[in-house]
């Protein structure tokens, strides 16, 4: 028997089982309607859950992209200071992040697809539940046993199939969301612990930043010194016109700043 036929028979037998449960077929209608409403709220929750997961992944992508930009900056800085080794280290770490980001983006797309599918499933179920409710009231109002049974059977198998389908969709979305959340949790922890600074496990902590910082503060001191030295000469010439006291002051000033800068190191 064909695959398509086999699956549809299984769905039908499930729907029929639900139908056999109640003695009065009209009770079956009410019971089924209640289940439909339950399923509708379940699918709404499902959509919300998937959206939450998606937003979380978005947030993580942003964080990792910031981290990646920071490493890029560091590489640039390192190159401008002739430290190719540091630049290489920063770029290596960045490439580790790039893989993570690509992974997360793929997951993000998957979650978005799941969210769209569930939203559509929700709309379809909503439309069918609405029809079912109308039909249920009609059947109950015009109830004569034989006629009603046929119409109940029709309504039940139609809605039963949709419910089975939506139920499956919810289950799949839940499974996927759970997987993503486990992964997202792991990445959150990594970000919090700062271990992602160290994705390639060379070195420890953000040593690139530390080294660049100490290099650039040395460079800052040097350039400040150079500026002061350059600045003090014309001042000294001017001061010479005004007399020896001022000249002495302008000589003394760079001296104090220089020693302050040295103390700061």
């Amino acid at each position: 028997m064909s695959l398509m036929k086999r699956i549809s028979l299984i769905f039908r037998s499930k729907a029929n089982k639900a139908l056999d449960r109640a003695e009065d077929p009209r009770e079956t209608l009410d019971y089924s309607y209640q289940r439909q409403l339950d399923l509708l709220s379940k699918v709404r929750r499902g959509v919300a859950d998937v959206a939450t997961s998606r937003k979380r992944v978005e947030l993580q992508v942003n964080q990792l992209e910031q981290q990646s930009a920071k490493l890029q900056d560091q590489a640039q800085k390192a190159i401008s200071m002739d430290r190719e080794d540091l630049a290489r280290e920063a770029l290596t770490r960045k490439s580790g992040l790039t893989t993570q980001i690509a992974d997360l983006k793929a997951q993000h797309a998957q979650l978005q697809g799941e969210e769209e599918k569930l939203t559509l499933a929700q709309q379809r179920l909503q439309a069918k539940v609405e029809s079912f409710r109308t039909r249920k009231e009609t059947i109950k109002a015009t109830y004569t046993a034989a006629e009603a049974q046929t119409r109940i059977n029709e309504a039940m198998s139609g809605i039963g199939e949709e419910m089975g389908d939506v139920g499956l969709a919810i289950q799949r979305a839940e499974d996927k969301t759970a997987q993503m959340q486990a992964r997202a949790g792991a990445i959150d922890e990594l970000i919090a612990s700062g271990a992602l600074d160290d994705v390639t496990s060379h070195g420890s902590g953000d040593d690139i930043a530390r080294e660049l910082e100490s290099m650039s503060s040395q460079a800052d001191v040097e350039s400040e010194l150079a500026r002061l030295k350059a600045g003090s000469e014309p001042q000294a010439i001017e001061a010479a016109d005004d007399g020896p006291i001022l000249e002495a002051q302008s000589e003394a000033q760079p001296e104090t700043e220089k020693s302050a800068a040295e103390d700061g190191q």
Partner: protein
Amino acid sequence: MIVRILGEGQYDVADDALDRLNQLDSAVEAGIEARDEEQFRSALAALLDGVRTVGAPHDASSLDASDLILPHADASLDEVADLLSGDGLIPG
């Protein structure tokens, strides 16, 4: 005739398109029997595409049961095996 693709909804398919769909369906079955995930996936994708191409979406508010039901597009072999065993379905 009404064909449902799980997760996508129902399609109205003309009866004369059925022969072609049956061929595609046989390919899916062959993939399942051979436990060949690759073959199964590509055959399923072709079958679902076939239904989407020849079919028109069925009225969403109708309560008609489908004549045929197909697995969702990204179903794995194991998931279809589950479907066929009747597990994992929420009874109507």
